[in-house]
């Protein structure tokens, strides 16, 4: 494909960052924080790592518009439709304990 080529040093740099983030996420699991924070921190770091893989290793940075649209729609579906809508139900249950009919 006639696209800009990412250089080998860039790939290696991305890997080094990914490894450092992995060490960081495991290190954080030794801090005594409330359980929910483990998930927030763990998922934040994982999202950064996944983004690096998608952008550099999977060449999303230099992909055609149509491919980027597929990626964007997939992420939108997963985050906004799937997770956000489900959580808006489960996380808010019990907030109105005396709602008639519940």
């Amino acid at each position: 494909m006639a696209q800009r080529i990412i250089s080998v040093p860039t790939y290696v740099t991305v890997l080094v960052v990914l490894v450092l983030l992995t060490v960081l996420t495991v290190a954080v699991s030794f801090f005594h924080v409330e359980g929910l924070w483990h998930i927030v921190i763990g998922l934040s770091i994982a999202t950064v790592k996944a983004s690096l893989v998608v952008l550099f290793f999977m060449h999303a940075l230099h992909s055609p518009q149509a491919t980027r649209a597929v990626i964007a729609i997939t992420i939108f579906w997963l985050v906004a439709v799937f997770f956000a809508l489900t959580f808006s139900d489960y996380f808010t249950r019990g907030l109105l304990p005396y709602l008639p009919g519940h």
């Binding site: 494909m1 006639a2 080529i5 990412i6 080998v8 790939y11 290696v12 991305v14 890997l15 990914l18 490894v19 992995t22 996420t25 495991v26 954080v28 699991s29 030794f30 801090f31 005594h32 924080v33 359980g35 929910l36 483990h38 998930i39 921190i41 763990g42 998922l43 770091i45 994982a46 790592k49 996944a50 893989v53 998608v54 550099f56 290793f57 999977m58 992909s63 055609p64 149509a66 491919t67 597929v70 990626i71 729609i73 997939t74 579906w77 997963l78 799937f82 997770f83 489900t86 959580f87 489960y90 996380f91």
Partner: protein, 245 residues
Amino acid sequence: MNPEPALLTDAEHDELELTVLVRHRLEEQYESLEQQHQTAAMGMWVFLATEVMFFGTLFLGLAVYRHLYPAAFEAGSESLNWIIGGINTLVLLVSSLTIVLAVHYARLGDRKKVVLFLLLTAALGLTFLGFKAIEYYLDYRENLIPGWRFDAREWVTEKGLSADQVPQVKLFLLFYWIMTGFHALHVTLGIVAVLIMAFLAYKGYFSSAYYSPVDVTALYWHFVDIVWIFLLPMLYLLGTHHLGT
């Protein structure tokens, strides 16, 4: 070797070979190999979108039940082997680099390096499965398999869970087995695909003009890596680890 003077220079010969090869690989519905490549890559992305739906369901279920049963899920998470989970994360990350280098050298038409990096990727995939097998064996030894080897009393007497929370721990462990099991299946299929690509590359099937199968296989491999990137915090790192335990 050839007694007659060559009709073509080496460069011309290479160009002719490439032209023949390009004609041969180009399917008739595409205008160019580049368009064909982009179509193949987008097809793989659409397939990966369906894979996101598959694993997304499991992640969503895990997240919802972690929300409903926080104590049991944290206790279950702390019983898993985060050391092997962490090492395997590094193994897959390095394998993502090796396969992206295979694509890189395929684009440059360096056949030997393509074969080398594809074989390295497959070897790292096998390393991952090896560690996974060791981990599964340790889980077996530590009674972490609900329905087969699981000791409810252990969780109540040693880990301080209530009797109500024992089925919740079982649920967490089921998520663990199903998610890592399906992931391992994906790694296995990935290794097969990578080995086929290595064989084809060795046979000279690819060129700098035509290497989309290598690229598309790499996309799949990276996706499997991404799933594991999320499995690490969502399975192994839900609770607080303690040094020396």
